[in-house]
């Protein structure tokens, strides 16, 4: 009996299965909420907004690196989602569909931001971009800040497509096929964008990695 219990415990990971159940239940709830929202149920759309806002914010922040832009993008994503609610296919995953909208909004913003930055780079005040050498921070804190700045700067140097593909793969754990689908490109293009992004990130972080 004890042996059987051990075997069951070994084969059956309660945490994983719990997550799975939670995800499935969320998906089912999403689909039901979308159906109700389509019929004009404001409370249903509210549920969707409340459930997905934080993950959309995280995604937007990783794509843009700006808190304010991410706040705006969360709003923009839900506005677009609301307008396109009728085009959402019931079989699809609402979270993935929403991600796709958020990525598109973010990529539009990144592209616009890039050109404005390049156009006005001579006016830009870059002061304060370096690591804060003077201040009460401990060495560890300064190191962390430097790492954060390098990662942010490296992400910023990626092309919009590379950045989106990398963020979706690295932080969101989406498969290459899902990324291609979300970005509207072939899987091979998504894969090569990830390769390029990883190479660039490695180059940018090389000085830090070599010290580890």
């Amino acid at each position: 009996m004890i042996l059987l219990s051990c075997l069951l415990l070994f084969c059956f990971d309660p945490t994983e299965s719990g997550d799975l159940r939670l995800n499935m239940s969320m998906e089912e709830n999403d689909i039901a909420a979308v159906a109700r929202a389509r019929e004009g149920d404001g409370e249903a759309f509210r549920l969707l907004v409340e459930r997905h806002s934080r993950s959309i914010f995280r995604l937007a922040y990783r794509l843009t690196g700006s808190e304010q832009d991410s706040e705006d993008l969360v709003q923009e994503t839900f506005m677009r989602a609301f307008r396109k609610l009728n085009s959402f296919e019931q079989r699809a995953n609402f979270g993935t569909w929403l991600y796709r909208i958020a990525v598109n909004c973010s990529m539009d913003l990144i592209r616009k931001r890039r050109i404005h930055e390049q156009l006005h780079e001579e006016d830009a005040d870059c002061g304060g971009a370096g690591a804060p050498h003077n201040g009460p921070n401990s060495d560890g804190r300064i190191y962390q800040i430097e790492v954060q700045q390098r990662v942010r700067s490296a992400l910023k140097d990626l092309s919009p497509l590379e950045r989106a593909a990398f963020v979706l793969r690295h932080f969101e754990g989406m498969s290459i096929e899902e990324i291609g689908d979300a970005l509207g490109v072939r899987s091979s293009a998504a894969k090569h964008s990830i390769f390029r992004a990883v190479r660039k990130m490695r180059r940018a972080l090389e000085p830090i990695v070599s010290q580890i």
Partner: protein, 265 residues
């Protein structure tokens, strides 16, 4: 697996998408240089993973909803939801107004261009109707649209000019933007030609050729092809010309805005 692992194989393995996990594992176990390289990759990506995101409180979703409520179309989402979803005075949401604003602005630009540059009919019989928009206001809209077009075009060219060197490059996203820019460019070029501005026509002509080149290329191009495009962009100094033009147009736009504000006050 006798050769060393490529970085692509390592990246795919890191993300669990290798499809040949046992082979890569065996190789890493037996090959020191590859193991060391893979550990470097792990360290780099671990630093990226540690990149923090500002936390949002548990009720962040409710805050977002409150902000959205004031923007959403009240008619579409019914108001019988515990009085929390209050209908606005207007039937249309703000986004609808913006959309109509965009359509109106486009119509004004088109009307302005047509009126200003199209050939006059032989027997003018059209009686001009009331003009709700002043010439300055129309010019303001036109200049704004023109400046946007020039900046969007620069963006497309910069994406190509800064595409990574080596290997194949996916330009699908740039192509989609180039296609839109191409349509707008043709309208502006015709307008400039009718207005007798050969300098502007020449720049827009150069731009059109490059945009055509981008639109008609395959969505994934080789490194040589991208270099060719890049050289063409550089040789014609098109980015510089577009930047100068956009700057002039924005300046002119500011002048017109000042003029409009002076008149209204």
């Amino acid at each position: 697996m006798t050769n060393h692992l490529t970085d692509e194989q390592m990246i795919l393995y890191y993300y669990g998408e290798s499809g040949e996990e046992p082979l890569v594992e065996n190789h890493l176990a037996s090959c020191g240089p590859c193991r060391s390289e893979y550990q470097n990759l792990q360290r780099s990506l671990a630093l990226v993973t540690a990149h923090s995101v500002p936390e949002r409180s548990a009720d962040y979703g409710s805050q977002v909803w409150r902000q959205l409520q004031s923007q959403l179309d009240a008619r579409r989402l019914s108001s019988d939801v515990n009085n929390e979803f209050r209908p606005r005075t207007l039937d249309v949401g703000r986004w609808t107004l913006w959309a109509w604003g965009g359509v109106f602005a486009t119509l004004v630009v088109a009307a302005f261009l047509l009126g200003r540059y199209w050939q006059q009919p032989q027997a003018p019989v059209v009686v001009e109707e009331a003009r709700p928009v002043s010439p300055q206001a129309r010019e303001q809209v036109l200049l704004s649209a023109m400046a946007d077009h020039l900046e969007e075009s620069q963006l497309v060219l910069m994406e190509i000019a800064h595409a990574p060197a080596g290997g194949e490059v996916d330009i699908a996203a740039s192509q989609s933007m180039a296609s839109e820019a191409l349509k707008a460019n043709r309208i502006y070029k015709q307008a400039a030609a009718r207005n007798g501005e050969p300098g502007l026509v020449s720049v827009l002509d150069d731009l059109e050729l490059i945009l055509l080149d981008i639109v008609h290329s395959p969505s994934t191009v080789s490194s040589a092809q991208i270099d060719e495009m890049r050289l063409r962009i550089q040789a014609q100094e098109i980015l510089f010309k577009l930047r100068v033009l956009a700057s002039h147009v924005r300046e002119r736009q500011k002048d017109v805005a000042r003029e409009l504000s002076r008149r209204s006050s």
